[in-house]
């Protein structure tokens, strides 16, 4: 049986029993998914990479803390989410202290250029950029649920466990987050079209 035939829960059980190869398989399975989640959450590539590393180190050092009462993915996303939230809080405090007017993550976004005229090839890139901009401006509780649901494609039940909020709250937050995101995207697109004219 090759490692990729095992479920996540079987892999962590093997790792808990001392099989280091199982850990490497876990890393291979989750690193990009975690990176996508954390990167879209914090909006900074380097910071996201550090946080994913922290998450995977925690999985290594605290492997015996996992009990098979929840799915392994729920556990690992919870660790990553908590680390990301803590980091965002720290950054927010620092930003407040330095009286900076720039919001977190804003530095990497650029306003659409004056000669913005999307060709077909650039369209996808622009859409991604628009969504990133809009996501970064969503309140944290909306951003988290929409990333977990629409980018990571997790079930509502899993999101409920990761965020430790009731299922109904998850559904209503996703609903409102999608509507809010759509409003923001519509504003971004309208501004872009105005500039291109």
């Amino acid at each position: 049986m090759t490692p990729h035939q095992f479920t996540d829960e079987e892999l962590i059980a093997q790792f808990q029993a001392g099989n280091e190869n199982a850990y490497l398989e876990i890393v291979a399975r989750f690193k990009d998914r975690l990176f996508t989640f954390v990167y879209r959450f914090v909006g900074d590539r380097d910071l996201a990479e550090d946080l994913v590393q922290d998450t995977l180190v925690k999985v290594y050092t605290h492997r015996h803390a996992y009990r098979e009462i929840a799915r392994f993915s729920t556990w690992i996303y919870t660790i990553a989410g908590n680390l990301a939230r803590t980091e965002l809080r720290k950054r927010k405090r620092r930003a407040t202290f330095s009286m900076s007017t720039l919001g977190f993550g804003e530095k990497e976004y650029e306003l659409p250029s004056e000669d913005y005229a999307p060709t077909k090839a650039l369209e996808g890139e622009q859409t991604e950029k628009d969504i990133r901009m809009a996501l970064a401006r969503l309140p944290l509780h909306f951003r988290t649920v929409i990333i977990l649901r629409d980018v990571q494609e997790l079930s509502y039940e899993e999101i409920s466990k990761i965020m430790k909020i009731p299922l109904g709250t998850v559904k209503s937050r996703v609903n409102r987050a999608r509507l809010r995101l759509q409003e923001m995207l519509a504003n971004v697109r309208t501004k872009g079209e105005e500039r291109s004219e």
């Binding site: 690193k31 990009d32 991604e128 969504i131 999608r178 759509q182 995207l185």
Partner: protein, 185 residues
Amino acid sequence: MNCSQYRFKISPYLDQELTFTELKMFREHLEGCPNCAELTLQMERTQVAMRDELQASLAPDFVPRLEARIRAEINRTPSWWRQMTAPRLVGFSPISLSGAAAAALAIVVIGVSLFLPDSAPLVDPPTSSTQNNPPVMMTRNSNPASQAANPLLTTTPQDSTPGQRDSVRRDFSRQMKYVNQGRRP
């Protein structure tokens, strides 16, 4: 239902969570409302774009860097702590087993002390100030009235002054003398 109420049905529609009746009503509304139809289409596109275009991947040297970090973490952890927290016996680490043993011992001690009969000492333990004094006899089941009548039984070394204790000692010696001579005090 008006448009603002239908807007809240778009998300469950995208997640295919509408009931048959809700879905029928929703579709009928979209047919007659171009604004809601356009919003639904846009939200559907955004959802697809988020799934397809927001995926990110790490730099290729991520795994070697992670391995180096883990090695550093392992070297930083004291070996005694690793031994204590490593799983050994039926999946439990020595530290958790010793904690469980201590808790069990505490429960046994508390349980035994609760179920034992009243174990008040028959003789008061000597204190530093009364070590030279003869012990005052205290009977557990004796009559309190008779104890009150007998100053030897009611006087305890803790609640008497040195002068009183000397007087008690003298009385006690005198009584013992009468007893030894076969006379009543």
